[in-house]
């Protein structure tokens, strides 16, 4: 027995030791907790997405023979989309809509508000923030109704203000109206994001620039922007995606007149429910998803390049 004095090697705690995770639950119980959420996500997000991809390769229709027994048509929906002038039109309008109302409108207006409100009196700042937020939290239908009333040809507020009775803004300038509408509606998010981003700029650096006599624009360009570059990219990514997928243009113009304001989500709706071509609209939905993914990848690349 006394031949070796070496202590026996300590056995790793294989026996039911405490769980290794932070909460001490163990895998099975942890899974139990997340299962309800996973089930909901599966049923209402993953399944419809997969289903959309599936019916995108069929000739499924709302009514008729194909509604009962759709058949697989391969990629013909996609080749059709690539040659569809109305789809090209919708893509182009979506780009205009995103560029005008999100990348330029919400971004710049949101930053301008955050920048000017940063030194305003608390009462003024809170009032402005509350008003801007109100535009964001009101339901789309309510907001759309307000803007229809604003732009109306006969009794619209805009026409009474400008004295241009009889101008049908939503028919004559539908895209301009949509860009204005969405800028107004979505600025709150950019404003709040930039307000908090501006807190991250050290005050002494702003004051330093002031001591050197830098103008407001020079300060923003040379001192503020380099600090909030990441915020600008993240914000632009989020609002671009939201705007590209936004359906509220339908509530104002229904895509008209003559497809002049038919952005991709509106086009998808019109193809699916007015035209009844569910298979084709699913294919376009999938194309929109791909386009969004490409945009997101581009932003992520830009974001990574700064470090």
């Amino acid at each position: 027995m006394a031949t070796t004095t070496e202590p026996a090697p300590v056995q790793p705690a294989r026996v039911r030791g405490p769980a290794q995770d932070v909460a001490g639950l163990g895998i099975s119980r942890a899974l139990g907790f997340v299962a309800p959420a996973l089930l909901l996500i599966g049923a209402f997000l993953v399944f419809p997405a997969v289903w959309t991809i599936y019916i995108g390769i069929t000739n499924y229709r709302l009514t008729g023979v194909e509604a009962v027994s759709p058949s697989i048509v391969g990629l013909s929906n996609y080749t059709k989309a690539l040659n569809d002038a109305l789809f090209h039109n919708a893509l182009w309008l979506t780009c205009l809509f995103v560029l005008g109302s999100a990348v330029i409108g919400q971004n710049i207006l949101g930053f301008a508000l955050a920048w000017t409100m940063r030194r305003a009196r608390p009462a003024v700042r809170r009032t402005v923030e509350a008003l801007v937020l109100l535009a964001w939290i009101l339901p789309s239908t309510v907001v759309a109704y307000l803007w229809i009333a604003f732009f109306d040809r006969d009794t619209g507020t805009l026409n009474s203000i400008l004295g241009t009775q009889g101008t049908a803004w939503l028919i004559d300038y539908p895209m301009v109206c949509l860009v204005l509408f969405n800028t107004w509606r979505g600025t709150a998010f950019s404003m709040m994001l930039y307000s908090s981003a501006l807190q991250a700029v050290p005050p002494s650096q702003l004051e330093s620039a002031r001591m050197f006599g830098a103008s407001g624009w020079q300060t923003v360009r040379d001192v503020v922007f380099p600090h909030i570059r990441g915020h600008v990219l993240t914000n632009t990514l989020l609002i671009s995606l939201w705007t590209a997928n936004d359906f509220s243009p339908f509530l104002l113009t229904k895509g008209g007149p003559n497809h002049e304001s038919e952005t991709v989500p509106v086009y998808i709706y019109n193809v699916a429910l007015q035209g009844g071509e569910l298979g084709y609209s699913s294919a376009i939905s999938f194309l929109l998803l791909i386009a969004n993914l490409l945009v997101a990848l581009l932003y992520l690349r830009l974001l990574r390049r700064r470090s």
Partner: protein
């Protein structure tokens, strides 16, 4: 030339706090001037008001005899170095130094020349292409100084210039800063809460409390003859002895069961006063001495390096006295304290202001 004249200056914050309260001050051209005081005394607000970062509520600020009270900070000809240096992290050292020139749309070639020259003056050669994040604290400070110098201000303002450096570097930077200021000859005002820093660097010191000036003078005056008990308490690395006593006849004050010589001037005999005397100006001896003295027993001795701070209990009060390290007495020993007349200061018991015009100490 480029001095600063401040008259009746007050800076009141929206909440009613008078951070600077009716201040008159003149900083001479080329002077190295310290604003000293405990935190919240208004010294930084005063500096920022001179810079134009805080609007003056009353009074005027003149730089180089021109009224700048209502001018924008960028138009005052003032350069400021912030406590955290405020270097732009995304710019190289060279871009940082020449940013004031870029703002004024100076040609890039000139800017490069200025960057080269200024970086040479501040021993930053070879660091021009680095980013601030790649520099040590001392180097960052020198870049901030270089940037302030490159902006060609008539006046240089420094907010707590040494507080962001570690203790060792602080001494080095202190020497560097003093030499640089003398070489450039630029009027410089700096803020500090560290009395040792103010004494070491400044030509003149303004001691502030609650937005008001408590004393203005050279480091020697402020140290040797504090104008009131506040300054007496604040200045000096070992606290000044402030003891209650009364004026005795024959040019002395009785305190702590003994007496010390003092120029009592017009203060009547028997009046209660606060007697101030620095531990450094007290002499400790063993055995009898002639003239006024205080007798007591040693309680503790604290080693300060080349000196020791000895606490002596005299009739129930503790008096501090510094002695050379080799003369440190044993605890419990009976000792006698004396001081020269010029080193014993009398303060009004109520107001704490210095009493009696006593002759200035020699040396």
């Amino acid at each position: 030339m480029a001095g600063i004249d401040i008259e009746g200056l007050a800076t009141v914050y929206p909440n009613g706090v008078r951070a600077v309260d009716g201040l008159d001050l003149t900083v001479a051209h080329g002077e190295f001037f310290a604003l000293l005081g405990p935190s919240g005394c208004g010294k930084t607000t005063l500096l920022r008001t001179i810079a134009g970062l805080e609007p003056a509520s009353e009074g005027t600020v003149r730089i180089d005899s021109a009224d700048v009270t209502r001018l924008e900070p960028g138009k005052r000809g003032v350069a400021m170095v912030f406590q955290d240096y405020a270097l732009f992290p995304h710019m190289t050292v060279s871009e940082n130094i020449t940013y004031p020139l870029k703002v004024r749309r100076v040609a890039p070639a000139t800017r490069t020349a200025v960057a080269e020259r200024t970086s040479g003056e501040l021993s930053l050669q070879g660091l021009l292409e680095r980013r601030p994040g790649q520099l040590s604290g001392g180097q960052q400070q020198r870049v901030a100084l270089a940037r302030a110098i490159a902006s060609k201000g008539k006046v240089l303002l420094l907010d707590e210039p040494l507080s962001n450096l570690d203790a060792r570097l602080r001494l080095e930077a202190r020497t560097f800063l003093k030499k640089l200021q003398k070489d450039l000859g630029i009027t410089t005002v700096f803020v500090t809460h560290d009395q040792a820093e103010a004494l070491a660097l400044a030509d003149r010191i303004a001691v502030m409390q609650s937005g008001k000036l408590r004393q203005l003078g050279s480091p020697r005056e402020v140290f040797a003859r504090p104008a009131n008990t506040f300054v007496a308490n604040f200045i000096g690395s070992t606290p000044m002895n402030l003891l209650t006593g009364s004026v005795a006849s024959g040019g002395s004050v009785s305190i702590a069961g003994g007496s010390l010589p003092a120029a009592t001037g017009s203060v009547p005999v028997g009046a209660e006063v606060t007697v101030g005397v620095r531990p450094e100006y007290l002499t400790l001896s063993i055995g009898d001495v002639s003239g006024p003295s205080i007798r007591g027993s040693v309680v503790v001795a604290e080693n300060l390096g080349t000196q020791s701070l000895v606490s002596v209990e005299c009739d129930g009060t503790l008096i501090g006295v510094t002695v050379p390290e080799e003369d440190e007495p044993d605890p419990g020993a009976t000792v006698v304290l004396t001081a020269s007349e010029s080193r014993v200061l009398l303060y009004d018991k109520e107001s704490g202001e210095l009493l009696a015009r006593q002759p200035a100490p020699v040396g």
